[in-house]
């Protein structure tokens, strides 16, 4: 029992001071002796429960576990440094969404979906933020770069994997229904068949 408290405190301290998310592999390196992954998972659960009544949440993101402020403190914390908040334009967020949901995509794919040419600055912002990276070239004439999201993107949005992206299949059904109804209305097609 004594031992597990010691382990738990070491893990907790590491998580609070590492400055980056720590995976279970990382956490195993904390100990000279071999500590089973299952033990570490159990201890992480304990730590999570310990903090329930306190100010931080232990969350699992793409790169591992990290502590973050509970959402109830967000407003106050944002008041501390209002200039800190980085707000991206609608164009940047649209491009990010297309890369996230349709990856891997080329610049041309993005332009096709949005119906406008892509400002290079928009992509650069995402590349610089390391939310997006080039993962290769598409084997078509011109070999355009293929873009995909990074693990840092998942970290910053507190997602474990791409499966955790907000589910848009409901919206898809709704959108295609309403648009098809509006634009491919029966009377219009009758007109065609009528003559």
């Amino acid at each position: 029992m004594e031992q597990s408290v010691k382990y738990k405190n070491i893990i907790e301290t590491a998580l609070l001071t590492s400055g980056r998310p720590l995976s279970i592999d990382d956490l195993q390196k904390l100990f000279e002796e071999k500590v089973e992954r299952s033990t570490i998972r159990m201890l992480l659960d304990d730590i999570k429960n310990d903090w329930n009544e306190k100010t931080l949440n232990l969350v699992l993101v793409a790169h591992g576990y990290r502590f973050e402020a509970k959402p109830m403190f967000t407003d106050s914390l944002m008041r501390l440094s209002p200039d800190r908040a980085i707000k991206y334009s609608r164009a940047v967020m649209e491009v990010l969404a297309i890369i996230a949901y349709r990856q891997p995509v080329t610049r041309g794919d993005i332009e096709k979906i949005r119906g406008v040419s892509l400002n290079p600055n928009t992509l650069r912002q995402l590349l610089e933020r390391e939310w997006v990276e080039i993962i290769g070239q598409k084997e078509v004439p011109g070999r355009p770069s293929l873009y995909a999201t990074t693990k840092f993107f998942l970290d910053d949005f507190a997602l474990k994997s791409l499966n955790q992206l907000p589910d848009i299949s409901h919206s898809e059904d709704k959108i295609s229904h309403s648009l098809e109804e509006k634009l491919l209305s029966a009377d219009a097609s009758e007109q065609i068949n009528d003559q």
Binding site: L96, A97, A158, I168, S171, A188, Q195
Partner: protein, 264 residues
């Protein structure tokens, strides 16, 4: 939310002094207003979606003549002002006109040809774009690190504890120092400085020393005890140079007797 933002944008926009407070009701955008609309919409698809959703108009049921006229107006205008951005809108107009004209033609009855409704492609595009628009909104609703998500960053500094060190005798320290000196000697460099000695300067000195009619012994120009060798060499060169220029004379009565120098 985004449409509120768009209205805000338009409130600030002015065209020929008149403020534009209304969003477009249909596809006929005066060319002058185009740039303003370009700012408030992400592109022609965005504009089409807005018209369908907000104004409930059937974008495929627009009189073709008006659309064509507007299209031609744009093309005219683009010759005068920079409107590269309008290209996407022109493409969209052209596409709408094409769809409309194809719908007016009797369909080709061909079982093999799966070319369906001419509108289908546009509808597909609109669906995908609106879906991605929704997705971007959903993504933006998630709190992000750097904006409204705060991660714990406790500070940790590695402190190195002072170790107790072994005692050192004075003798050992002295030996170590001697070794350092010894090694340092091996690296000592011998620097050769360029002596700032000028032959011309010595020539002047010799002339001065000779005065007008004096006869001075050759040896007295050289102070071997005090002067470094380079200085002696330069002095000798100066004497040779003066002789060559016929300013002094070197005399000797007989072999091995003293040599004298005098002004020429």
């Amino acid at each position: 939310m985004s449409s509120e933002l768009q209205t805000d944008l338009l409130n600030d926009a002015k065209i020929y002094g008149e403020s534009l407070s209304k969003l477009p009701q249909d596809l006929y955008i005066p060319p002058d207003a185009l740039e303003v609309y370009l700012d408030s919409f992400q592109g022609p698809l965005d504009l089409l979606l807005y018209l369908i959703r907000k104004n409930n108009i059937d974008i495929l049921d627009i009189p073709m003549a008006t659309l064509t006229t507007q299209y031609m107006e744009y093309v005219e205008k683009m010759k005068q002002i920079k409107l590269e951005l309008a290209a996407d809108y022109l493409l969209m107009s052209a596409m709408l006109i094409e769809i409309k004209s194809r719908m007016l033609l009797p369909p080709i009855i061909n079982d093999e040809d799966d070319d369906l409704d001419p509108r289908a492609e546009l509808v597909k595009k609109l669906i995908e774009y609106e879906l991605m628009k929704t997705a971007s909104q959903e993504l933006d609703d998630i709190s992000q690190v750097g904006r409204d998500r705060f991660i714990a960053q406790g500070y940790f500094e590695k402190v190195i504890e002072p170790k107790s060190l072994p005692d050192v005798s004075i003798e050992e320290l002295f030996n170590a120092w001697k070794n350092v000196i010894k090694r340092a000697e091996q690296f000592e460099t011998h620097r050769i400085n360029r002596a700032e000695l000028s032959v011309r300067e010595h020539m002047s000195l010799i002339i001065k020393k000779l005065g007008n009619d004096q006869l001075i012994s050759f040896d007295s120009f050289f102070n071997e005890e005090k002067d470094p060798i380079p200085k002696l060499v330069v002095c000798f060169l100066a004497i040779l140079e003066l002789t060559k220029e016929n300013l002094i004379k070197i005399n000797q009565q007989e072999p091995c007797s003293p040599i004298y120098i005098q002004r020429a």
